[in-house]
Subunit: 304 residues, 2 copies
DNA sequence: CGTAAGATTGAATTAATTCAAGCTCCGTGG
DNA sequence: CCACGGAGCTTGAATTAATTCAATCTTACG
């Protein structure tokens, strides 16, 4: 189908299928040699686990699971047992609203982690569905959480907390998009976000295939599918993009970026390059909640 | 001012002001005796740390910090050093949009944790501002992350990951509210959410004081302040609530709940009572993303 | 007591949704 | 191999609802 540059590359011999009735024990450090060629955007939690596992007597089995298009990786209410790392493919997460509709809460590409929302209550509060044939690594949470720190490296649990926090940052970007009240800016922001994530994994950022329907995009953005369709059409007649069904080619970034300017930095998700002076000063001078608020004074410590 | 039923109750002698030029060392298990009377909604991470600290040689200093109304607890771009637990008061988190406006991302009450978004990059990506005079515990992240597991109890880092995940669940509730496209249902959901969180800390759920402005509510809900005001007015003329400026009294829950029905269970944030059959079946039969999607087949494991 | 911030209310505007019809493309089965 | 059917996408027109702009009111605070 398409290139999968981010395979974890676990050798098959070290991979234990999850549905296997008996999990054969493998050496605690044996399962990670194959992780080296993996090109995950962020250091894979598995690599972190490998270091710890080498030093501990604990056993660690990382399985793989294939999820075909339309299939469910986990469901709302199911016990949380695994954190899933996408090896290849695309998935969405969503949850059921009480009227039977579903709300799409995220899209996940190769190298990204799914299922972290289950950690809070020990049960998943959303479900994950493959948008195309996909495969994931299944990292057993309990075992991972028990692994101690290896030398100066942080314990896997610490790394995990960091990765959950990354999801919070991504949610913040989603809120920045939601703050764009109009349809066109939101869709533009969505394209920019997608493009950035494609580039992160070595794919073209200006020409890619949408793996999700207009309805799913609309749900994620808080728009109807018609509004999404019209936004695409509008961009196309302006000559900013070419779009045919689910294949998109961006011809001109400038206008799209201008459209979603207020959310641009949140969407582009750049690593913070030191303290961002501009934003800091915006905070000091008193950013507005539509109406200008009082300047942000600095909090004083409590005297002992 | 008002009752503070959720004080951590750290004895003053064990509390080290953060701005003190030199942090005096205190016994690693000395700072937590006072945590016992603390009535946090979820088990406080500090209690978890206490157990670990007792067994380790590490030192752990938990400071307190007073944040007066309008003051900033931390800012975007600042290094992430502490997780903050609200002792009393109310804070909001928000971030600056690139056009200078600010987007409110959350409200935090006594017993809740703030600042977890900073974990991802080691820097805060939002700022936290007190909506009234408040006080927080400052839990030093690095030190906490290094604490090992104490016996069968999980390491503080594991508990931390869980708490970050709880924020993800809360974000999901916010997405459920955003899925209510109209103003009145969103405001109704906001009231329900607030009410639930008041009750959680032993306060009245039907009569409370809003600590945030209409503009802040609007920013959080994706509405203009006028729309929020009109929604309140509309509820009042229907006889469902009494509202005068920032004091709210709910007279009739039913209509408010009906109004935001699709998001009700997400907003009420009930602990999952076992596997939720209803929702599970909704998933199996194929919940809709506005247009009905294919039934969710079950993923098959990869054969070894 | 005066001022300013926050809240309310009204009227005009704007934009998304809704409803409906038609189209394209893909997979299936005759 | 081609026809059929359906899912997904597009497009148009009417409707609906939120936003915008503006004026007024209240209240907290200096």
């Amino acid at each position: 189908m398409h290139a999968h540059p981010n395979l974890h590359g676990l050798p098959a011999a070290n991979v234990v299928p999850l549905a296997s009735p008996a999990f054969p024990s493998i050496p605690s450090d044996g399962g990670f040699a194959g992780c080296v060629p993996c090109q995950l955007r962020q250091e894979c939690i598995a690599a972190c686990m490998a270091r710890s596992a080498r030093q501990s007597a604990g056993q660690l089995l990382i399985g793989r699971r294939r999820v075909r298009k339309g299939e469910c990786l986990y469901r709302e209410g199911q016990p949380f047992r695994f954190v899933y790392a996408v090896r290849y493919g695309t998935l969405k997460t969503a949850f059921s609203l009480d009227d039977g509709d579903e709300q799409v809460s995220g899209f996940f590409f190769a190298g990204e982690l799914i299922g972290l929302e289950g950690l809070a209550r020990g049960r998943h509060v959303s479900h994950a569905v493959a948008l195309e044939d996909s495969e994931v690594c299944c990292i057993p949470y309990e075992e991972m959480a028990r692994l101690p720190a290896a030398g100066s490296a942080p314990a896997p649990a610490v790394r995990l907390a960091q990765l959950v926090s990354s999801e919070l940052v991504r949610d913040q970007a989603a809120k920045a998009i939601a703050a764009l009240r109009q349809a066109d800016p939101r869709v533009a922001a969505f394209l920019l976000m997608l493009s950035g994530r494609m580039r992160e994994r070595g794919l073209s950022g200006s020409e890619f295939e949408l793996r999700m329907s207009r309805a799913e995009i609309g749900s994620y953005l808080g728009l109807t599918l018609e509004s999404v369709s019209r936004a695409f059409a509008s961009f196309a007649v302006q000559g900013w993009i070419e779009v045919h069904k689910r294949s998109v080619r961006v011809l001109s970034w400038g206008p799209l970026e201008r459209l979603c300017l207020p959310a641009l930095s949140a969407v582009q998700d750049r690593q913070v390059p030191g303290v961002d002076r501009e934003r800091e000063s915006a905070c000091v001078t008193g950013a507005r909640t539509r109406t200008r608020s009082a300047p942000l004074r600095c909090a004083t410590p409590v005297s002992a």
